[in-house]
């Protein structure tokens, strides 16, 4: 159980690092694209590479951020039936869903890896002046999916173990979908 808890914490850290990188990615996109507009319209200069880099940043944003989104319960599901499920039945459904999710993620991981490997082997580069070796931006897909697969695996293991015994550690792993400080304080002031 201790190992499970530790593994979950490590995956949590990885998800957080991913979210941090995704957040930095948004800021970089904003500055890069914003700067390009200003320079183009005011000084007739264009940062030729801003479109290309923004595209790469978006891929990184999605795949680095997705595990964090999953852990914090942000991924969308139709839950009007799911939320009514209870006890043993819910555990079984959870296990089936995690198995399906893991299988899907592993298939994506496998074929994404082959895709990146091909880019590496064939030395594919971008068509722009940067001539970026494509395997570099494409690897973030593999890294992101790998961390996601780890996250799903640990949830699956915890779901299976929960069938046999109730345990606080297992519960804490399964309820990673904690609300991590979302503040509803919109700083309103009602002055009519």
């Amino acid at each position: 159980m201790k190992i499970l808890k530790m593994t979950n914490e490590i995956i949590g850290k990885l998800a957080l690092i991913g979210a941090l990188l995704a957040g930095v990615g948004v800021i970089c996109m904003m500055i890069l694209v914003g700067l390009d507009v200003v320079l183009r319209n005011l000084m007739n200069i264009s940062i030729m590479i801003s479109d290309e880099i923004s595209g790469y940043l978006l891929v990184a944003f999605i795949f680095f951020g997705v595990t964090f989104a999953m852990r914090t319960g942000a991924l969308l599901r139709i839950d009007f039936i799911y939320s009514k499920m209870r006890g043993y039945f819910k555990h079984i459904v959870d296990i089936i869903l995690y198995v399906v999710t893991l299988a899907y993620t592993l298939i994506l991981l496998k074929y994404s890896f082959i895709f990146v490997q091909n880019s590496f082997n064939f030395k594919t580069t971008s068509n722009s002046m940067l001539r970026v070796p494509m395997w570099i931006p494409q690897s973030v897909i593999v890294i992101g999916l790998f961390v996601l697969a780890l996250q799903i695996s640990i949830s699956l293991i915890a779901s299976i173990l929960t069938l046999f015994k109730e345990d606080n550690v297992l519960q804490s792993i399964l309820s990673n979908e904690e609300d991590d400080g979302e503040d509803q304080d919109f700083g309103e002031e009602a002055v009519f």
């Binding site: 948004v26 890069l32 991924l75 969308l76 994506l108 990146v116 931006p137 309103e188 002031e189 009602a190």
Partner: protein, 437 residues
Amino acid sequence: MEWGLLFISFLIVLFALLFAGQWIAFALGTCSIIGFYVIGSGVAFNSIGNVIWKNTNSLTLTAIPLFIFMGEIILRSGISGKFYNGVTAWIGKLPGGLLHSNIVACAFFAAITGSSVATAAAIGSVAIPEQEKRGYNRKLVYGSIGGGGTLGILIPPSIPFIIYGVLTEQSVARLFMAGIIPGVVLALIFMAFIFIRVKLNKSLAPHYEDKITWSIRFKGLIDMFPLIFLIGIILGGIYLGVMTPTEAAAIGAIFSIGLCLFYRTLNFKMFKTALENTVKTSCMVLFIIVGASFLSYLMVVSGINRELTTWVVAQNFSISGFLILLVVIYFILGCLMDGNAMIFLTMPVLWPIIVQMGINPIWFGVFLVIMIELAQITPPVGLNLFVLHGVVRKTGIKDIGIGYIIMSCLPYFLLLLLMLLIISIFPGLATWLPANM
């Protein structure tokens, strides 16, 4: 395998997964991968990496996290209360008083923040206690906030338009422009509804007695200025061709940070929360795109698209008959799922049929977004209803059930249907502005 059987099997597996509670992104993707196995397409498997890369490495999609970030910052800037008061200074004297402020403030705020749910929470927490105190009819208050909040996705910037544009390869800039006039008309229809109801029964809303001087109006203008200016930059920049929607999103995000610095509301915690929520919300939407792109790919390689389109066209549906059928389908889907999910789920299948039937794709974008607005206020999954219910309870009104909120929003549901009819009779409302860019 015969395409019809394959398609029906696909739908059964998809809905079984969705209703069991599978995440939408994974449900779409899993069904598509199963489809690849069934049709035995090795090429499809080998294309998985390429499909992911091609569909996520997109400058147009970059607009989604940037607009969401802008909205998150604005949401926390403390500007919604000021904006509400500013609007009230100008239209508070109309019969219906603050109810009109609800509609206008919700429409603007939801457009900027991109979230009708956050808008219902932000404007609702300001408006509901005040209107309760003044003795407004509760049904009209809740309805105006719930209904008003739905306007946000029609008035640009709008995430559903970006998703639709990317999935169907339509210009997001034109789609944004197409939403403006229907959005304004819809807001006016909502206001006209309130006006008529209050004219017929004055007890529903007390006359706004507060004295509004020109100095209050002037101050109101200053309070409204930042949001109006922000929408002005975004829409003006796009309309004049100075900026693409993605660039407008970046400029909007920078402007919103500047605004918070000006109002001294920006701090590290707020910035961190805004960024965190941007990552969560955007990844949620963008990861579904991965699943939806597999679905699109499956529909093409399996021949379902081609066969289904041929079959539908052979049925000789009239365009209006086909659209009525779509209204029914989207209404049912809207009762069950989130609006954006509806686009991901239906566009890969319906798009070739829409093209084949000769329906204007820009007009259809507006039609689709109005259907999504309907979905936001239809039970049991109408998110606006639940958020509004939560806000109402938070303000200390405990005797209101979700059923009451649903009934409050019902007239707006009917008015949205009326709007569908109006844009069907006058398609120019949606197509004129984009045609003149």
